[in-house]
Subunit: 404 residues, 2 copies
Amino acid sequence: MLHGKVLVAQGGGPTAVINQSMTGVVLEARKFRNVDLVYGAYHGVRGIINEDFLDLTQETSHNLEMVADTPSSALGSTRDKPDLKYCQEVFKVLQAHGIAYFFYIGGNDSSDTVRIVSEEARKAGYPLRCIHIPKTIDNDLVHNDHTPGFPSAARFVAQSFMGANLDNAALPGVYLAVVMGRHAGFLTAASALGKKFPDDGPHLIYVPERTFKVDGFLGDVKATMDKYGRCVVAVSEGIHDESGNPIITQLAKEIEKDAHGNIQLSGTGALADLLCQEIKDQLGIKRVRGDTFGYLQRSFVGCVSDVDQREAREVGEKAVQFAMWGQQDGSVTIQRTGFYSVDYKLLPLEAVAGKTRVMEDEFISASGTDVTDAFRLYLRPLLGKGMPDAFRLRSNRVPKVLGR
Amino acid sequence: MLHGKVLVAQGGGPTAVINQSMTGVVLEARKFRNVDLVYGAYHGVRGIINEDFLDLTQETSHNLEMVADTPSSALGSTRDKPDLKYCQEVFKVLQAHGIAYFFYIGGNDSSDTVRIVSEEARKAGYPLRCIHIPKTIDNDLVHNDHTPGFPSAARFVAQSFMGANLDNAALPGVYLAVVMGRHAGFLTAASALGKKFPDDGPHLIYVPERTFKVDGFLGDVKATMDKYGRCVVAVSEGIHDESGNPIITQLAKEIEKDAHGNIQLSGTGALADLLCQEIKDQLGIKRVRGDTFGYLQRSFVGCVSDVDQREAREVGEKAVQFAMWGQQDGSVTIQRTGFYSVDYKLLPLEAVAGKTRVMEDEFISASGTDVTDAFRLYLRPLLGKGMPDAFRLRSNRVPKVLGR
């Protein structure tokens, strides 16, 4: 085992359980005698560059447990996407502080950072163990059955649509909500788990794995209105036309791009508003309402899957165990082993880094606007205990007297 | 006691606990021998006009309890605002079906409907007991300490801001969210209950009880950014300029009005997007994100105050008791009697009908952008048991080595 300090950091978008992974790393790492101190970096790789470190060896295990149950990244995060030069700087700081173990909790961009830092250390002949710990509500890491953060966000989306469907049944019309997920439709598809009766919404689900055609969409909405007198729609923020252009670019005045060159999809209600306007204009439906779930779906306090919490904790703990007892760098992955159970494997960083998983074809219905039972079976155990349930009054119609 | 049938209906926007009140009416009414049958009307007064009735005497008490725990209006609702002629039609149907007791669960528009129907019955010499049961997430009924539905919606808003604040701390910038409430800022003000540490957001709260000036708003955001390096803002959908014009009218292409002549404020992200654009353009801040809580805040499944559930049930039960043992029509109101306890009073319909309560001055800080401790003390017990709590890591900075 290497002797030195441990550094843990969090990257990318926060999740409801990312602090479970951080706590898993810290508590497990503090048990090892070859570990001098456990540091946390504020705001991910940016905090490393700035030597913005926190000594987590002096944090109480009690408070770490409380933080573990708190959503969002307690160490702060960053949207920086490091290039080679950036990673070289990261490596220099790790070296200067005598870091022997580097754990980075994040999505596919973060895993790529770990990969480059790992290579730099190897090239420099510096003994550094680098482990990527998975996290993303988008569920888009390859070689993972699913990723920590996704189950809780999925639960939020399912519960949201359960309520929105009830609301729409009470005051009929079209209700449309935009869900996060740039390339992968998993989170949008989770809306289907809010459904109980056959006529419940969401009646239509649009994921980025299928091309979005405005005409087809309008036809689907009209058909649903004709059938049920109301329509609930789940739309991924990442829907795009045949050329791959996001539908939102058709309307946004000013397109904002992040450091990764990605167009800003969240933090604006523009897509929902555009689609609602189309429905009003083209179909002449009056009551059309659009919501954008926005940041609530990844940081809402009080809608967490216990399965997600447990697994997020375990990937952190396993990361330390892989680092201590293993001989190589890698990315911790979640493998499903039963209905329902999982195990964790350390895969080479190159296998996961920078790659994007999208929804498998078997999860999307032939119509392209619904999920399959295979998807329901896949997702249900992840949502955890105590999922709410919606009940309705049974019909016992009273005969009319006036009958006007 | 009058002999005949009982009719219960639900009006206006759904809430998380409105079915508690319906269940309270049905279960209590079914105990009385002078009650032949208990009917529910589908979709409020519109269902009455259409004789669209459900026999709730044939519903199991078990399923009624399950429905009570389900958000949104199980009987359906309506946005119809009845005029005199409409109410006369309502009265005719009630008479034709031998209704002796009419219970309408709703906000101030609904209470006005009950008032007119009550008058029509009196004029016709028809023995009809009419009771209004309070419900509104806006908390804007006069003579009520608060209204059923508000506490659960307030809890959703507080929990949402608790999470949004953590998210904003992890990835700093400006986060702004628009909350429901046309005239009353109670729900927007509830965002303050998500705050724990002095530097937590929401840092700024804008309610319709104060005039909204774009310049002042931008100055407030800038000052907060200078102080904390980030800014979380809660904005009521009902904010307006000095002339009382909604801020949203400054931008919306097409203004939609409902049957009450009200401009559509919900179901669009336009206001949040406008304000975010102003911040970007005028202050040059790059990371500005806007959410609109939309319909989630009134129908989310799984974020309910137990105090709200209990009281919503009680106003339904009390309504029947007032109707059976009392001698007059009226509106059930909630009176606070302790810290924390309530009692219920039946007030004349004219005292409540069509009137709007707004936030008392003592609840709004002198700055106009925060709440007072009096408001915190008022709201906290309503949120109920098991409010989540957010924890953060304690600071133990590590000295820099490179110190670049």
